[in-house]
C-alpha cells in the first residue's frame, strides 16, 4: 500500500471514521492507483493535486460521504447579516414592562390598603383590657373579655390571603419586567447575529 494511502488511513483513524468505511475507501484508492501505475501512469493521474495533501484529501472524502463533519472550504464565509428586529419586538417589550409595573403597583396597593385597614381596626376595636398587643381583624366581634395575642402585629389574622396575593403579583410583575429586559438586551441581538453567521 502506498505511503499516500497509509497517510489517509491515519487521518481517517484520527477523525474517527469507522473501520469498514476506511477499509473500503483505502481498497478503492489502492486499486485505482495500482491500475494507473500498471498502465504507465502515476498516482497523480488518479488524485490530481490531492496527491500533495493526503490529510486534506482524506478529510474531504470522509466529509463528503457524511461519516464525519465536512471540512471547512476555501470559499469565503458569507458576511454576517444582522436580523432586523421584527415590528412586534418593541411592542412586546413595552407590553411586558407595562403589565409587570401594573402588577407590582397592584401588589403595593394591596399591601398598603391592607395595612391601613388593619391600623384602623386596631384603633377602633382594641378597647378592652390591658397588657400586650390586642388585635382584632375587621368584622370580628369584640370578645367580652380581653384577648391577648402576644407578639402579633396589625391585621395578621385576616391578612394572610391578601399578603400572599400581593406577593404573587409582585413576583409575576418583577418576572415580566425581567423578561422584557432580557428580550431587549443588546447581547440577545448579538447572539441572533452570530446564529445567522
Amino acid at each position: 500500500m502506498s505511503e499516500f494511502v497509509e497517510e489517509c488511513r491515519r487521518e481517517w483513524r484520527r477523525l474517527g471514521v469507522p473501520d469498514p468505511i476506511a477499509n473500503e475507501m483505502a481498497a478503492d484508492l489502492t486499486a485505482d492507483i495500482e491500475e494507473a501505475e500498471a498502465e504507465g501512469g502515476s498516482a497523480e493521474d488518479v488524485l490530481g493535486t490531492s496527491l500533495f495533501d493526503p490529510r486534506r484529501f482524506a478529510a474531504a472524502w470522509a466529509g463528503a460521504r457524511g461519516v464525519i463533519a465536512p471540512p471547512p472550504t476555501d470559499e469565503p464565509t458569507p458576511p454576517v447579516v444582522l436580523e432586523r428586529a421584527p415590528w412586534y419586538r418593541p411592542v412586546t417589550v413595552v407590553a411586558l414592562t407595562l403589565v409587570g409595573f401594573l402588577m407590582a403597583l397592584a401588589a403595593a396597593a394591596l399591601v398598603v390598603g391592607r395595612h391601613s385597614s388593619a391600623v384602623a381596626a386596631t384603633v377602633t376595636r382594641a378597647v378592652h383590657g390591658s397588657g400586650p398587643i390586642r388585635v382584632f381583624g375587621p368584622g370580628s366581634v369584640v370578645p367580652p373579655f380581653p384577648t391577648v395575642i402576644h407578639g402579633q402585629v396589625f391585621g395578621v389574622q385576616n391578612a394572610g390571603p391578601a399578603i400572599l396575593l400581593a406577593l404573587a403579583l409582585l413576583l409575576v410583575g418583577v418576572a415580566l419586567v425581567g423578561l422584557a429586559l432580557l428580550y431587549w438586551a443588546p447581547w440577545s441581538h448579538r447572539r441572533a447575529g452570530r446564529r445567522l453567521g
Partner: protein, 117 residues
C-alpha cells in the same frame, strides 16, 4: 482577476459533478475508470483535485447508486451508476450549463480580439 489556471479550476469545480454524472450515463464505472472517461473526452483532472470527494457527495445526495463488483482480473471495485434522481439532475444540469454557456458566449462574442501574426 483570476489567472488562466485559477479560472479554469474554478470553472471546472463548478461543473465537475455534472461531468461525472455524464460519464456515468455511458454505464456504471469505478473511480479511476471515470477519470479515464473524462480524459477521453478531453478533460484531465491532473492539476485539479480528486474526484473521490465528489463521488462521495453524489452518493450521499442519492444521485448515484453503488455496488461492489469484481473487475477484470483485479480486486472488487465500487461501481457507480446513475440513480433516477441522478438522471434528472443530469438533464437539469445540462440545460442549466447550456443557458449559462450561451449567455457568456453572447457577452464574449462582442469582443474583437486582435491576434498577432
Amino acid at each position: 482577476m483570476a489567472s488562466g489556471d485559477g479560472r479554469r479550476s474554478q470553472l471546472l469545480r463548478g461543473v465537475l459533478d455534472l461531468c461525472l454524472l455524464a460519464v456515468m450515463d455511458e454505464g456504471p464505472a469505478y473511480g479511476y475508470e471515470m477519470t479515464k472517461r473524462l480524459r477521453a473526452r478531453g478533460m484531465s483532472i491532473v492539476g485539479e483535485g480528486s474526484i473521490y470527494p465528489l463521488l462521495g457527495r453524489l452518493e450521499r445526495d442519492g444521485l448515484v447508486e453503488t455496488r461492489r463488483q469484481a473487475s477484470n482480473g483485479g480486486p472488487p471495485r465500487k461501481y457507480y451508476s446513475l440513480s433516477a434522481a441522478g438522471e434528472q439532475a443530469l438533464e437539469a444540469g445540462i440545460e442549466e450549463w447550456r443557458a449559462v454557456r450561451d449567455a457568456i458566449d453572447g457577452a464574449l462574442d462582442l469582443v474583437k480580439l486582435e491576434v498577432a501574426p
